[in-house]
């Protein structure tokens, strides 16, 4: 009675098709890494001084601040939103931390306590913009644009045009000192990366963010508290912006709103070039690391190649267009917004 259970020719083809597709997907997730290696090889050959220990350290230092910023944005993008508040908020944190420590303008000197206080302020503001987005159901893009403009206004107001030069010995040491040859700022970035890695892979929060990004309906079905998780994402973003603001002030030795400029869009580019999809659910912290290096390598190499400043932006734009075109899934009825 037990009819021979056979799978038809079509069933076989279906299984092969699926295997081919998952292999393709595995290759696609490696695409950013391959692009990074290809870029390094090309630039080592062409750019003089690229492939050297000195320049390697240089890359590591320059990738520090963009990396921390993109780590902050990774979870936001994994959830399918975007956030531009870092431009104003980062500038504000940078300016305010300079005013709080021993500086050339006022006699306030909180020393090391300034850092946690300032990061708390950054988290507070980011939580507020998260509240507006989640509870008020406003598009995160526009909310963060408003918050960014308010905060950069306060930043400029805080030092009234004369940036406060940092005198605090701790900050000057942090700017120049290094440990095992790697400057402190880069260590901060490495530590932030490790925390982000743990957050993503070792905590419930990480899996919940991935679930929400993949399919919010399934996440609700599994019983995940979606709003609370989204809120925590904005807390993490606030923390990263706070760190970036402090690092910016340390690096330039003074507090000015310029610290926040040109932070957000390169960070979002790094996250996407690294392989995290803008509609959420794919990619992760390691992808962002690769993305951040791709962007930094391009900037560094263009300077080493002595490319004329006028066309540098165009070359950067073209390379990123190519990199994303290669690492983005293609399909006839795939909906890409």
């Amino acid at each position: 009675m037990d009819k021979q259970v056979h799978t038809s020719r079509v069933g076989e083809e279906f299984a092969q098709e699926m295997k081919k597709q998952s292999q393709k997907e595995r290759f696609m997730s490696l695409a950013p890494l391959i692009i990074l290696l290809v870029l390094i090889v090309i630039f080592s050959v062409t750019a003089q001084g690229f492939f050297s220990i000195n320049n390697f350290y240089n890359l590591l230092n320059q990738a520090a601040i963009p990396l921390v910023m993109s780590l902050g944005l990774t979870f936001v993008i994994l959830m399918g939103s975007t956030d531009l508040s870092a431009e104003g908020l980062g500038g504000f944190i940078g300016s305010v931390v300079a005013l709080m420590v021993l500086n050339s303008k006022n006699d306030m000197n909180l020393g090391a306590f300034a850092i946690p206080l300032v990061v708390l302020i950054s988290i507070g503001v980011s939580m507020l913009s998260g509240l507006l987005h989640i509870k008020g159901k406003l598009p995160s893009f526009m909310v963060s644009y408003g918050v960014s403009s308010i905060m950069s206004g306060f930043a400029v107001l805080s030092y009234r045009g004369v940036p406060a030069r940092i005198r605090d010995p701790l900050f000057t040491v942090m700017a120049q000192g290094n440990f095992l040859g790697i400057p402190y700022l880069t260590w901060i970035a490495i530590v932030t990366f490790v925390i982000a890695y743990i957050l993503q892979n070792r905590t419930r929060f990480g899996s919940y963010v991935m679930a929400i990004g993949d399919n919010e309906a399934i996440a609700k079905n599994i019983g995940i508290n979606i709003e609370w998780t989204k809120f925590k994402v904005f807390v993490w973003l606030g923390l990263c912006i706070g760190i970036v603001g402090v690092m910016g002030a340390v690096r330039v030795g003074q507090g000015d709103v310029g610290i926040g400029s040109d932070l957000v869009f390169p960070a979002i580019t790094s996250v996407v070039v690294g392989g995290t999809s803008l509609s959420g659910g794919k990619g992760g912290v390691v992808h962002t690391l690769i993305g951040a290096f791709i962007v930094t390598v391009i900037n560094n190499a263009l300077v080493l190649l002595g490319v004329s400043p006028y066309i540098q932006q165009a070359v950067q734009g073209l390379i990123i267009l190519g990199a994303v075109a290669l690492s983005v899934p293609h399909g006839k009825n795939l909906i890409v917004k």
Binding site: R251, V252, D262, V303, L304, P309
Partner: protein, 383 residues
């Protein structure tokens, strides 16, 4: 400051919550929201510290690029110095920052003219030279006396306008030349060596003139070789990254000096050098004479900077405009020297540092704004 920002935002938040708790009057969310927006605007607007009371006092408008550059804030301080020199309450200063957006500069000035009519005078550091033509047209129409500093397009001169009182500028080309020569002389083997060039913002008039000055200096010093030329957009962070890349590319002994177009970027350059404790060995230059610039010259990290003395430029700019407005000066009869003159930037290098600090930093220089010849350093165009 932070409390203010914190309360500012939480205040809006409380307004939100109180609006929701309105008992006894079941309002549709939309009505409550509209009422909230009026309250929010009124609350925020009248919280702004400087408010224009009635229209009588003369408005001294200062239009410049950005509030984040210390040098541009010197303009505002200079204008306030001039306002203080007038009898009490005759004038007050309004700042028009345009954050590098040329269209906004024109719009802001037009808006102020519409609001104040001819009861205002204007001091402008044009974000880019071409803006001067539109400003000139607007002021001619409205009968507003105004002065300009730094940028003006070729062939456009105050003499062809009635209300454009004067045009003063430090000679950006000469400045580019002076700091270049100073740098070349202070290299380990004076007159020879390899340098890198860090420009300001591409396609910005002041930047292009300083580059012309640099190129003039380079012709006179064949021994100097330019390794690379990059643009830092007047931004400290970018300058820092570019310098780090140069150090990686040419090695720490491959560069002898870095020509840098302004103090803000020089801060980034010096930070990058100090990270490799090369500050002092590789010298750089700056322009604007910001407090940071002066400090770096003091520590021997910067070969020289040029203090353009924003107080003097803005103060006397306003003085000229005010004089023309009150009839002390008549633009038709003014000679070319008074219509167009150079103010001397103050080259601050290790040796001239001492007396620069004496006159400008320790004591605020007293300006007698009635003596209109004081700022003139020389004619702009040698006949």
């Amino acid at each position: 400051m932070l409390l203010l920002s914190g309360t500012g935002i939480t205040l809006m938040e409380q307004e939100n919550r109180e609006a929701k708790k309105m008992e006894g009057y079941k309002m549709k969310r939309r009505e409550k929201a509209a009422m909230l927006s009026i309250a929010a605007c009124a609350m925020l607007v009248n919280a702004a510290p400087v408010m224009a009371e009635s229209a009588e006092p003369l408005t001294i408008a200062v239009s410049m690029r950005s509030t984040t550059s210390e040098y541009h804030m010197q303009y505002v301080a200079g204008a306030e110095l001039f306002a203080a020199s007038l009898p009490e309450g005759t004038a007050e200063v309004q700042m028009l920052p345009c954050e590098g957006n040329d269209d906004k500069q024109i719009n802001d000035i037009n808006a102020l003219i519409a609001s104040k009519g001819d009861n205002m005078i204007l001091f402008v550091d044009a974000n880019n030279a071409p803006n001067i033509t539109s400003i000139a047209e607007a002021c001619e129409e409205a009968g507003v006396y105004w002065c300009a500093a730094w940028n003006a397009p070729e062939g456009i001169l105050p003499t062809s306008y009635k209300y454009w009182v004067n045009f003063q500028s430090c000679d950006a080309v000469k400045q580019g030349y002076d700091i270049a020569v100073n740098l070349f002389e202070s290299l380990p083997t004076p007159g020879e060596g390899k340098i890198c060039v860090l420009e300001g913002m591409l396609a910005n008039t002041a930047n292009e003139d300083r580059m012309k000055g640099l190129n003039m200096a380079l012709e006179e010093y064949p021994g100097i070789e330019v390794l690379d030329d990059q643009a830092g957009d007047w931004d400290t962070g970018k300058a820092l990254n570019i310098t780090e890349n140069w150090l990686a590319k040419y090695g720490e002994d491959g560069i002898d000096g870095i020509w840098c177009a302004c103090d803000d970027m020089a801060v980034g350059v010096v930070q990058a050098l100090t990270a490799k404790n090369l500050n002092g060995k590789i010298l750089s230059t700056g322009v604007d004479g910001t407090s940071a610039g002066i400090e770096m010259v003091e520590n021997g990290e910067l070969a020289c900077t040029i203090a353009n003395n924003g107080w003097l430029q803005a103060g006397y700019g306003c003085a000229y405009a005010y004089a023309a407005k009150t009839g002390v000066l008549d633009t038709e009869t003014m000679d070319d020297l008074h219509r167009m003159f150079l103010t001397n930037g103050y080259l601050v290098s290790a040796d001239t540092l001492a007396d620069y600090k004496a006159t400008f930093v320790d004591s605020q220089p007293e300006y007698d704004f009635t003596d209109l010849d004081y700022p003139i350093a020389g004619p702009m165009f040698e006949e």
